[in-house]
């Protein structure tokens, strides 16, 4: 008996061995099946119109009329919303959900990026005066009318007092002064800015909140107001204005919204929008889980990255989803070099002065720029689903400087640049003019596969020039601490999200006193003017750009800033992922744009089960 088992076991072993090691070379048949690739024609509907019915100023969607009912399930990555108070949001998830509940006076046209009225019926601009006409007869979810008092309250008692998140207050300040706000009548208000100020109009997208609901809390001061509308607030209590109202929040699992029957948008048949009955946000921890949930049909929309794209593209024709290519993302990945030459409290320089000498040398930075192999980064790390990047503005920005063409990776140019800067290459090792070996640290956040792989590639690229690179992935939060607080780093690979419409939003990064001026961060309250020439020029561009009102006036300024960054290379841009999104076919009225993404018009999307 035992013998037989032993023999069988041996036979199996031999069999496996033969299977693995004896293989005939039969040429693979390469299928020549050409995959049909339909270019999606998207017929964008005309812009929305104002329509007055029975004295109520509705906003009429011009999109095709659809069916009512059904639900859309989408996902949000992370821990879910931290507050539904639209005035106190500090993270993307909270602000997108609070933004769903509360509309602002104006919004951004999803295609053109122009400012268009939303809660406001229309606006007139006269020099520094912005006159806002509100819609008559529209209501909060509890039936109270939305009037000028709510607008006055929102701006005077929340925004201008810096209650909650004071960023809008900062953004509205022109040379330290806030605009003035006057109520003209119950449905008209007037803002007056101290000076012409381009970014102002867009700031009016700040959500308007109901005075009668918010005031009791805002009167009690900061801490009560900040705790107000926490995710655990009973949903029935919440008075809002947006297309959807809160139904349910389940910690770490989901947020459910239902349609707001009082919403002021109607379709071409004059029926009240939105079409969908329910909007569900599943809270998922990471992208892997998101993909699995889409695969298991638990969510309806999925943004695809890297090699996932191919999997879904191939199966698209037989599947129940469509894939849209929204072009380059606003997110950018870059290599930032620390130009800091200041000293810490104990008089120790943040960056070793020897290293600072290298980093401060433009030719040294240029050599790095020429040595990084963006083409293979895109190919290997993003599986081809990305675009090489050379500009500070993201590729879909309307202010993109199209004259910056970039360059291929060329080690010879890089070597020449280093020679010019006085570096000497001995036996494949790079030394500076004083004979010091060029060696520095490269940081990125650990646990992020993409950035870790990028770091490994950058390290190899720079080692081809003879530099010694110590690649050190660290915990995300400690990396940020290094960049913004302790400044003791040499180079880092990071990512930031830009705004495709308003380059002024980048002022924290580019102006010398900005809180994200990573490559030459000055501590808060620093008042010594040690700006580099090009930093001065950037400061001027950003203060001037904000005061110019038209696109045509502003464009040359922001072109110039991108040229400066491209020439000086304190930040070396690597690539920008392409945004590819899949959505189930049954959803109609989907008009993706590269500026606003796929599902910005949640009130117009409807379900057609037939197709």
């Amino acid at each position: 008996m035992k013998r037989i088992f032993t023999v069988i076991f041996l036979l199996i072993l031999v069999g496996i061995f033969l299977k693995v090691f004896v293989k005939q070379d039969i040429p693979q048949k390469i299928s020549d099946k050409i995959v049909r690739h339909d270019l999606q024609e998207i017929n964008y509907p005309p812009d929305e119109k104002n329509v007055t019915i029975n004295g109520i100023d509705y906003l009429q969607s011009q999109a095709p009329v659809g069916n009512f009912g059904g639900e859309l399930i989408i996902s949000t990555i992370g821990e879910g919303p931290k507050t539904f108070n639209p005035c106190n949001t500090k993270d993307a998830t909270s602000s997108s959900m609070a933004g769903l509940l509360y509309d602002g006076l104006v919004t951004t046209n999803p295609r053109t990026g122009k400012v268009m009225p939303l809660l406001a019926k229309e606006f007139d601009i006269n020099g520094n005066d912005y006159i806002i006409h509100l819609r008559h007869g529209i209501k909060w979810t509890d039936g109270n009318p939305i009037t000028a008092d709510d607008v006055m309250y929102t701006y005077n008692e929340i925004v201008f007092k810096g209650l909650g998140n004071p960023s809008t207050m900062d953004a509205m300040k022109v040379e330290g002064k806030l605009p003035e706000l006057v109520k003209l009548d119950d449905y008209t208000v007037k803002f007056t800015t101290p000076k012409p100020f381009a970014p102002f109009l867009r700031q009016l997208s700040y959500p308007i909140v109901p005075k009668h609901y918010f005031k009791p809390y805002s009167d009690k001061g900061e801490s009560v107001f900040n705790a107000f509308l926490s995710p655990n607030t009973p949903p029935k209590e919440i008075v809002s204005s947006g297309a959807f109202q809160l139904k349910e929040y389940v910690a770490a699992q989901r947020v459910v919204f239902v349609r707001n029957p009082n919403y002021y948008k109607i379709n071409l048949k004059d029926e009240k929008l939105p079409y969908l009955n329910k909007l569900v946000y599943m809270i998922v921890g990471d992208t892997n889980n998101e993909i699995l949930k889409f695969e298991a049909k638990e969510i309806d929309v999925l943004s695809l990255r890297g090699s996932n794209v191919a999997r879904y593209k191939i199966r698209e024709p037989e599947s129940d989803y469509v894939i849209y290519n929204l072009g380059p993302d606003t997110g950018t990945l870059f290599l930032v070099i620390n130009l800091n030459n200041r000293k810490n409290k104990d008089g120790k320089p943040y960056v070793n002065p020897m290293k600072h000498k290298w980093f401060a040398n433009r030719d040294f930075r240029a050599a790095i720029d020429w040595a990084v192999d963006r083409k293979n980064m895109v190919q290997n790390i993003a599986s081809g689903v990305a675009e090489p990047l050379f500009t500070a503005e993201s590729l879909n920005s309307i202010y993109l400087n199209k004259y910056i063409k970039g360059h291929p990776c060329d080690l010879d140019v890089a070597r020449k640049s280093l020679e010019k800067a006085g570096f000497i290459n001995k036996d494949g090792k790079l030394y500076d003019a004083d004979g010091n070996r060029v060696e520095f640290d490269l940081y990125t956040n650990a646990g992020n596969l993409e950035r870790e792989a990028l770091g490994v590639m950058v390290k190899q690229d720079l080692e081809n020039l003879g530099m010694k690179v110590n690649f050190k992935p660290v915990e995300f939060n400690s990396l940020v601490n290094k960049l913004t607080n302790t400044h003791d780093w040499d180079m880092a690979i990071m990512g930031l999200t830009g705004s495709p419409l308003e380059p002024h939003d980048g002022k924290n990064v580019w102006t010398s006193s900005g809180s994200l001026h990573m490559f030459n961060q000055r501590p808060a309250g620093y008042n010594i003017d040690d700006r580099l020439d090009w930093e001065k020029e950037l400061d001027e561009i950003f203060s001037e750009g904000a005061l110019k009102l038209t696109f045509e006036e502003r464009k040359p300024l922001y072109d110039r800033y991108q040229t400066i960054i491209y020439n000086q290379k304190p930040i070396i841009y690597l690539y920008s992922p392409t945004r590819i999104t899949a959505i189930r076919k049954k959803f109609k009225n989907v008009f993706p744009t590269s500026l606003s993404g796929l599902i910005y018009n949640l009130d117009e999307i409807y379900i057609d089960e037939e197709s």
Binding site: K23, N288, L292, S307, N308, A310, G384, G447, L449, K472
Partner: protein
């Protein structure tokens, strides 16, 4: 010898021992066995599948094993990267080929590798990873870290635990109470969280060697208290034995009694605890690396290699990235089986798991 013979009577233990011995030999000679070095990477071959090795050529004749290179193509319509065989040239797999230089056992500089293909050829037994690095080679180098991290941690745990438990148990009284309260306090902090808190505070400016050492220290710091408690318990019973009392009357110093007479009595327990706790350290390292707090890129460990296998598409389309998980499994299983057998032989009475 008698003990070893007894252990090997157990077939599972024997198999486990052979597997572990083979693993350690392979990682010891990793430079020689791996066709590529730890830092090798081929830019144009990210996520290449394992090389196909043929022993029968296209005309059906037996041949020396050979392989083809891959060429990468990108299909813009599908945004898909495909690897096709470049059938223009066969690369024969040969023993002792000349390739990248290294120092054999860290001493003798040489260019010979156990096997490989001629210049220009690429041999990826287990495919490549996102940076175009040979997974097979990295598995061997990663094993060096994963398979030793446990033993090295024990070098910290055991001296601390033995001494701490020994002193506490031997002196008793107020010293014992204080020492044990402190040990209990460290044990009371849920160990996994303590582990990640400690790993997260590692200073970021460290070299990979320093980081490796500190991770060992951290793993050690987590484990010492439990071990010390058991040792204390054993010492409590040993110290009343006659021979200890005899030593005391001779006037031997306390330290001498603890080190020379009491602790050696715990040897068999120590050996058992060692084999049985190594696997938990291997698993802990992989968990840390999974969270991005363990061994960092570009160094390899089985844990951080397995991180790549998290992604859905990688599991479906690139199963070769799962091999580190298989190796962790095999290593831990072998240690457990071997540990069981050793325990049965050395200490048949007290069968407690540690």
């Amino acid at each position: 010898m008698e003990v070893l013979r007894k252990i090997f009577q157990d077939k599972f233990a024997k198999a486990a021992f052979i597997v572990l011995a083979a693993l350690y030999i392979v990682i010891l000679f990793a430079d020689f066995i791996a066709p590529y070095s730890n830092t090798y990477s081929n830019r144009s071959m990210a996520y290449a599948p394992p090389s196909k090795i043929y022993t029968i050529d296209e005309r059906g004749k037996l041949s020396r094993p050979y392989t083809y290179n891959y060429k990468r193509e990108y299909e813009p319509a599908l945004m898909q990267t495909v690897f096709k065989q470049d059938r223009s040239k066969k690369y024969y797999i040969k023993p002792f080929v000349k390739a990248e230089g290294y120092k054999f056992l860290g001493l003798i500089p040489t260019h010979r590798h156990l096997f490989g293909v001629d210049k220009g050829g690429e041999l990826y037994l287990l495919g490549t990873d996102i940076n175009g690095r040979d997974v097979f080679s990295r598995l061997l180098f990663g094993g060096r870290i994963s398979m030793t991290v446990g033993f090295l941690s024990l070098l910290i745990v055991f001296p601390i635990g033995l001494l701490y438990g020994g002193i506490s148990g031997y002196f008793g009284g107020i010293i014992d109470t204080l020492m044990m309260r402190f040990a209990e306090a460290t044990m009371a902090i849920p160990s996994f969280y303590l582990l990640i808190i400690l790993a997260a505070i590692l200073p970021s400016g460290m070299t990979s060697i320093q980081r490796f050492m500190l991770i060992i220290v951290i793993l050690g710091l987590i484990g010492w208290a439990g071990f010390a408690r058991v040792v204390r318990g054993m010492v409590l019973s040993i110290k009343n034995e006659d021979f200890v009392q005899a030593e005391k009357t001779i006037g031997a110093s306390n330290m001498r009694i603890i080190l020379k007479h009491i602790l050696p009595q715990t040897t068999s327990y120590v050996i058992i605890a060692m084999t049985l706790s190594v696997p938990s350290y291997i698993l802990a390292e992989s968990g840390l690396s999974f969270l991005g707090l363990g061994i960092q890129q570009p160094d390899a460990s089985w844990g951080n290699m397995l991180k790549e296998a998290q992604e859905f598409t990688n599991i479906l389309y690139r199963p070769w990235l799962l091999t580190p998980g298989v190796l962790i499994f095999i290593a831990v299983l072998s240690f457990n089986l071997l540990g069981d057998a050793i325990r049965d032989v050395l200490d048949p009475k007290s069968q407690k798991r540690i």
